[in-house]
Amino acid sequence: MSSLDLTRLAFVRRLLVARGPQLAVQLALLAGLLIVILAGLLGTPVGSRNPATVLVWIAWWAALMLAFVPWLGRSWCSVCPLPLPGEWLQRGALLAPRGRGLGLGLRWPRRLRGMGLQNAAFLLVALFSLPVLTQPRLTAALLLGLGLLAIATSLVFERRAFCRYLCPVGGFIGLYAQAAPVALRVRDPRLCATHAPKTCYVGSAHGYGCPWQAYPPSLTTNVSCGLCLECLRTCPYDNIGVFLRPPGEDLRRAWRSLGEALKSLILLGSALVYAVVLLGPWNGIRSAAVHVGSAEWFAFAVAFLAVVLGVVPGLFLLAVRVASGPRAESGDALRRLAPSLVPLGLAAWAAFSVSFVLANISYIGPVASDPLSLGWNLFGTAGVAWSPLGGGWTFWLPPALLAGGLAWSSHRIRRAADGLQGGLRLAAPMLTLALTVSVGMLWVFVG
């Protein structure tokens, strides 16, 4: 299907290639990150009054799940403040290349490549997420810890190893960025084949080699492209563009590794568990999730891991096996069918986020106006009272999002099943699985 090369528009290209606008946004977000960490450590411990919890878990999370990821792919990664200090130290520069920076520049160990560490990091954060979500100090400690880890990683390893292999949110964003209608790709791969210096990968006087350790001509999905735009700056032939394309183009391909499939199932299961814990009417589950270290919490942790690592992947394997027989476990059917669940996973997270954010969005005004609880009223919203945006048409927003994701996933399942020559016989168990997970989410929203 055709796509529109946005960088053919001169002003778009100028805006993206220039370092100034990107740096301005990065600096603003870095300042925001520092304020959030300080406020979290020193400010009020009341979560609904502290910027650490309100700006991160309501404002940022809503922006990430409802704007950045579904529409702009990994664009958040291009301005994320967490890896910036480490990257600047590593480069010895804020802007264009200027000599050598600090750090050992080691290659990331081969056996640690892949998605294992990112999956583990996500699960680790997820297990402690309820205390982190609600306690400003823990939110600040998490952000500070991730920032320091990013700096340390940049000083030991080359490029953005933290973002590529460790960031707990990075894998999440990368997976769902495949559904986005924006992608950076090479215009003519044949031209790249004749270009020996490979400046997009090794860098030049105009920019850095791909910080994400990707070779742009080989990019077929958004998973490992952080949209940092360095390759736009280093390609001497202007052979790289940012394209507007039909959503979900990346999902037409079979995934290369089963790690990606596992990640998508972990995240789908996690959306279900999060909705049950945070939005459901089950006080006991919520209480267990927050009392870290108690017997109830250990039971919650075991149940959580059982659902995301056992039940959901198990149902997926079962669905594929029922449809195509034992041979399916050899991998081909798994790798082809797993991407079909990405739209449903994205919709499940969006539905969960909408439901959570609408109820709590009115906390943003007072916190933004008085981030340090010093009696300020920067935007005139310091006195805005809490008023949840619930009921009415918003009640149906989560189910509608869920239904949209399910429809899209159903379409992809049929496509993948046809591609495997399995037709409806292969698609039916997967459609049943997608519907089952959706019904579970629906019960939490409107049951």
Partner: protein, 157 residues
């Protein structure tokens, strides 16, 4: 009577089926109104019990008792609110004239888990869930069947 083209029938048919699933859920029922008192306790960032069901038209009184600190209760969709000090039950009454599922949330910041302190009130039969099920069935039908066209041979899946 001229018949519709086969492709159009194939597209419309599943939607008509889903509509048939939805319509029965939309038909109102005729229940007699009754006074209902919902007694709730607020403590440890939770409402006990956390789930209620009343009939459409019932005259509902919510009686909230707080056992630890000041808690509020805001019923979404009805814009009904009350605040309960510890040991001093608070009441509010309203007519449950709008069917659906509504969340009741704590409206007074009471501690770390305050944003998740919620309960649920269902007014009338569980129609929202039935609607939702029909919506999901429609989604599978639309995405997997009605709007699906097999790609031409030789094209990428």
């Amino acid at each position: 009577m001229p018949s519709l083209p086969a492709s159009l029938r194939r597209t419309i048919g599943p939607f008509a089926l889903a509509g048939a699933l939805i319509l029965p859920a939309a038909v109102p029922d005729g229940q007699a109104a009754a006074p209902r008192v919902l007694r709730m306790e607020a403590r440890d960032f939770a409402f006990f019990p956390s789930s209620f069901a009343v009939d459409v038209g019932d005259h509902v009184t919510i009686e909230l008792t707080s056992s630890d600190t000041v808690h509020g209760l805001h019923l979404e969709g009805y814009d009904v609110s009350l605040t309960a000090d510890p040991g001093r039950p608070a009441r509010v009454s309203f007519r449950a004239d709008r069917p659906g599922v509504y969340r009741m949330r704590c409206s007074i910041p009471c501690g770390p888990l305050h944003p998740f302190m919620a309960a649920r009130l269902r007014v009338g039969p569980p129609r929202p869930f039935a609607f939702g099920l029909a919506l999901l069935a429609l989604a599978v039908i639309a995405g997997g069947f009605a709007l699906y066209r097999r790609p031409p041979a030789g094209s990428s899946p």
